[in-house]
Every structure is written in C-alpha cells, then in structure tokens.
C-alpha cells in the first residue's frame, strides 16, 4: 500500500509539473505579454513599458523566466492580480473555501441523489417509470451548467422569490444578525447554487450508477441471493448495490473536472464569492495572472481529486493493493 501511495504521489507531482510548463508555454506563446492590454495605450510612454517589463522580468531570457516562474510556483506565488491589487494567491485562497463548500455539498448531494434515482430505476427496470426517469436524467445531463443556473435564478428568485438573488451572505443585514441568524443567512444563500450544482452532477451519477447496477444483476451471486429467498429490495441493497459501488469511486475522481467547471458557472450566475467567480470576473478585466492562477489551482484540485479517488479505490478493493 505504501509503495502504491508513493508511486501515485510521484505521478501526481509529474502531472502538476507538466501543467505548470503548459501554462507557462501558454503565457509566452500568446501575442504581446500579460501587460499588452494596459500598455497598448498610446499615452503610456516607451520608458514606462520598458521599466514595467524589466520589473516583472519579462526582458530576461526565456529559460531564466521559466526557472523564476517554477521557483515562484513552488513557493506558492502565482503573480500579482491587477484588478484586485493583491497577490493572486491571496485572492484565490480567500475564495477557495467558498468553492470547496459549494463543491463538497454538491458532491455528497449528487451521489446520494444519483444512487437513489438509479436504485428506483433498476427496481422498476423496463417500466414506464424507468423510461421517464431516464429521459429526465438525459435532459439534465445534456443541459449546459450555466443554462440551468439561469433558469433556477429566474424561477426561484424572480418569479417565485423564495431564495436571495446572490452572494454568500446578505450584504446589509448579515453584520447585525446573531450567530443563529448568520448561520441561517448563510444556508439560505448556499441553498440555490448548491441545489443547482447537485442536480446537474446527479444526472451523470444516476446514469452511470444505473448502468453499473444493471451490469452486476446477471451475476451468479445475485441469482444465489434470489434463490435464498431474499426480497428483490434486499437483493438490490445488500448484493447489487455493494458491488456496483466500486465504479462509483472511479466516478468521484472523474466527476471532479465537471464539478469544478460547473461551480465556475454557478458561482458567476449566483455571484457566489468563490474561485470561479474571481476567475470569471477577471476575464472581463483582462486580469491575466488571476485567470492563469485559477487554471493552475483548478488543475491541482482535479489531480488531487483523482489521486484521492485512486487511493479510495485501492482501499475498497483489496485486489488492487497487491499489485
């Protein structure tokens, strides 16, 4: 197990190193430089341009710039955010907890909801209920994240004003609330974005889990369980579901990129002050360092997510540990 862990950690480190190289290449292959947008202004004199480039080391040889860049990255420095006038790492680390909160609520919620839906479908396999649910999950599966976000916003904050429009807390009242009030205020704001992301993610979980359950149903041990006289419900829960849960662990790892991407759009739509919101607003302001910083952190999150899923898998399936 330890050797497996070491090997997977090594692989993850290599991946992060390659990601850093790719983002570096991206920055330097692009026309102009990160400042071109501000410095293309005719009012900026040549002298200012040269000074700024020198200040940020952009006049150094490419190899030296790369070494500096990797060195800075290794120290957790991601550059300077112009629009926030703060280091990128600070902007992102302030926003990250909100994104993680949204993602983890949606992750847990979507797996619970998705597995439940799949169980209902498999228990009524081939009936109208199964077909209808399949159509519904396909509908949500095919839906762009941002569109469902917009519809949810329209439906539940304007047409049927149950939830607050956006943000993580009430901008005015939050300061004056007691502890209980603050918690309720936060939950009220979290509800709609988290629900939207949960519904989006659970569609793919349900579709995946339904297929996984149908895969194990023809197995011999299921026939044995039925012959033992177990009810269909017991067969499903005790025998089919347990064995069909292994692929779910793989799906957790695979669902990370989609969950993160979904969070980006959901955060923008509901003005949820997370990493996605910071990065997406930075696009409009051409705050290049912040966008690239978001790309790097996002990739590291995905790498860690799949690493975690692999370790979980090894823990759950002893056959894998032996190798």
């Amino acid at each position: 197990m330890l050797r497996y862990l070491a090997r997977r950690l090594g692989q993850a480190a290599v991946i992060v190193a390659i990601v850093a190289t790719i983002t570096f290449a991206l920055i330097h292959l692009a026309p102009g430089d990160p400042f071109s947008e501000i410095l293309d202004n005719p009012n900026v004199s040549e002298k200012v341009r040269v000074t700024l480039r020198a200040q940020y080391g952009l006049d150094r040889p490419l190899a030296e710039q790369f070494v500096r860049y990797v060195n800075a990255l290794a120290h957790g420095e991601l550059g300077w955010s112009f629009s926030h006038d703060r280091p990128v790492s600070e902007v992102l680390s302030n926003a990250l907890p909100n994104t993680l909160l949204l993602m983890s609520v949606a992750l847990v919620g979507s797996f619970v909801l998705g597995i439940l839906v799949a169980l209902i479908q498999v228990a009524r396999k081939g009936t109208a209920v199964d077909h209808t649910i399949s159509a519904v999950t396909l509908f949500f599966f095919s839906m762009p994240d941002f569109w469902l976000g917009i519809l949810a916003l329209l439906a539940f904050t304007y047409w049927l004003p149950i939830f607050p429009v956006g943000g993580a807390v009430d901008p005015v009242m939050h300061e004056f609330l007691g502890l209980g009030g603050r918690i309720i205020d936060r939950l009220r704001h979290l509800m709609l974005p988290a629900l939207t992301l949960t519904v989006l993610a659970s569609a793919s979980v349900a579709r995946f889990q339904r297929a996984a359950l149908l895969d194990v149903l023809p197995a011999d041990y299921i026939r044995t369980a039925r012959l033992k006289g177990l009810t269909e419900r017991q067969v499903l829960r005790r025998h089919a579901l347990r064995n069909a849960l292994l692929p779910i662990i793989t799906l957790i790892g695979l669902s990370f990129p989609a969950l993160l991407t979904g969070a980006f759009f959901i955060e923008k739509i509901f003005a949820w002050p997370g990493m996605g919101y910071a990065v997406v607003t930075a696009i409009g302001r051409r705050d290049y360092a912040l966008v690239v910083g978001g790309v790097i952190i996002g990739s590291i999150m995905v790498t860690l997510g799949s690493l975690l899923a692999d370790l979980l898998y090894a823990w759950a399936d002893p056959r894998l540990r032996a190798h």
Partner: protein, 296 residues
C-alpha cells in the same frame, strides 16, 4: 431466437461480418429513442442549412434601437427582441448554423489529433508511449474549460477559425487514450502478424490495418464530442469570450440577455432550449452507437 432449440443456436451459420457503418445505422434504427433523435436532429440540421430562407429577419439587423428593443415574444417576434432590437428567433436560427458548424469542425480537429496521437503511442509502445501517456495525463487533468479560459484570455479578439482550432485542440485527449488502447490490443492480432510477415511497412500496417478497426470508437467519440463542443462554445460565449458580435451563436444570444436576466427571460430560455434538444439528440445517438459497438 424463437422456434429454435438451444443446440441449433450453437451451430451458427457463417455470416458475412457487417461493416461498422451498417451496424451503426441498424443500431440507430432499431431503438425508438434514437429514431426520434435522428429525426429531431435532422430538423435542426435542416433549420441550420436553410437559415437564410427560414429566418424572418436579418439576424444582425438593428431596425429600431429605441422602440424595437427588449420586446417580449409576440406574433411579429415569436422569441422577442434583444437590447439591440434584433429578432431573437432569427438569431436562434442562425445560431443553429454557427453552433453546429463549430461543433462539427472542432470535433474533426480533435479526431485528427486524437487518432494520430493515440495510434502512434499505442503502436510505438515502450518509452515513447510512456512519455506520451504521462503528457496526456497532465493534459487530462486540466479541466477543458479552464484550459480554454487560459488560452482565450491570452489571445483576445479571436476569429471563428481560431476558436474552432482551440476548441478542437483541447478535445482530443480522451479519444487518443481509447485509440491507444485499441491499437495496443490489436497490435498482436493475427491479421497484423500476417501483414508484417508479408513485409508491409509500419505505416501501411497502421493506416491500412489498424485504423479501419478504430471506426467504432471514433464514431461514438465524434457524436458525443460534437455535443460537448456545442455546450463548451455556448459556455465560452456566455462568458463573453467565445463567438464575437454581431454573429449569433446560442451561447452569445444568452450572453446578450444576462444583464437583465429577469426582464429578458426569452433571451435565455429559447436559445437554451434549442441547445438542450440538440445536445440530447446527439447524446442519445452516441449512446446507441456505443451500446452496439461495445456489445460486439
């Protein structure tokens, strides 16, 4: 098979092997859901092709920027008008054209890269394969949308052509892994050994003997890939960095209405519906194909 005993089923008469294409077509026609999907997709494709004849107005025309803007759906404008007084129905119809074209072209770029990369890695094996696969792992761990955000922010004001290129260049990672697996599995098949014995070159074996066996995964990947690109392009356009104005894509119509989502609900609802229906049909078709190819 009805009317046959178990024994006679076992001695199957030799049947000529069906080509993957015929198999795919039959798979689509067999299931009702995919029959419906192909009809609906056909209608949307026809709308896209015939856009100039169907659209009631010029999609870029701004007839009356004062009195004609932000009109809710009516008989004259079934999908309403946008803040520039443009007819949303016409924009959605032209949007079908652009969104589908981008989806198809970008997927073709992805296919080219994915198949080439995967086939080379699988056929070369050893160190070359190892390095190529590690690189692929890294590329796969950058979420595609984030990668595109990084690229599109570095290259502002992109033309449609470059947008398609970038969408395609970020979409081949998954496919190349599948292709590599297939090539690895087939590399030691008898027909490859036979070709090698006959003195065929590596290139000939790759192109003539291995690639034709990759038709099934490619068909599945491209159907699902087009759906994916349509959603991605819409997402980027929705963030304001995809298709440039005044062209209409489903995503940038929604973008035009985001400042006043609540008041201009028709600007997000209708293009989104078209998009979801298109993506649904592609997903249904892709999955029917996958079902039949994987069962084989």
């Amino acid at each position: 098979m009805p009317g046959q005993t178990q024994d006679s089923a076992r001695i199957e008469p030799a049947r000529p092997r069906e080509s993957p294409l015929a198999l795919g077509v039959r798979a689509i026609l067999r299931k009702r859901s995919s029959r419906v999907a192909i009809i609906v997709l056909g209608v949307i494709v026809m709308i896209a092709i015939l856009a100039p004849f169907i659209a009631p107005y010029d999609p870029a025309a701004q007839p009356d920027i004062v009195a004609g803007k932000d009109l809710p759906p009516s008989l004259a404008h079934p999908f309403g008008t946008d803040p520039y007084s443009r007819d949303v129905l016409s924009r959605v119809i032209y949007g079908a054209r652009l969104s589908l074209t981008i989806g198809i072209l970008a997927t073709m770029v992805s296919l080219t890269f994915g198949v080439a990369y995967g086939a080379i890695a699988g056929y070369a094996s050893g160190l070359v394969d190892g390095v190529m696969m590690r690189l692929l792992d890294a590329l796969l761990s950058i979420p595609r949308l984030l990668l595109l955000l990084g690229v599109l922010v570095a290259w502002p004001h992109l033309s449609i052509g470059s947008l398609i290129l970038f969408l395609g260049l970020t979409g081949w990672f998954g496919l190349s892994r599948i292709v590599r697996g297939q090539v690895l599995a087939l590399k030691h098949a008898e027909f490859v050994t036979a070709a090698e014995a006959l003195g065929a070159s590596r290139r000939r074996i790759l192109v003539r003997h291995l690639l034709p066996n990759l038709v099934s995964p490619i068909a599945v990947a491209s159907t699902l890939g087009i759906a994916h690109v349509i959603v991605l392009e819409a997402g980027l356009s929705y963030l304001g960095i995809g298709v440039p104005q005044p062209m209409a894509s489903w995503g940038n119509i929604i973008y035009d209405g985001t400042d006043q989502i609540a008041r201009l609900w028709w600007m997000s609802l209708f293009p989104g519906l078209f998009m979801v229906i298109t993506v649904m049909t592609l997903n249904v078709l892709g999955e029917s194909l996958r079902d039949v190819y994987e069962r084989r």
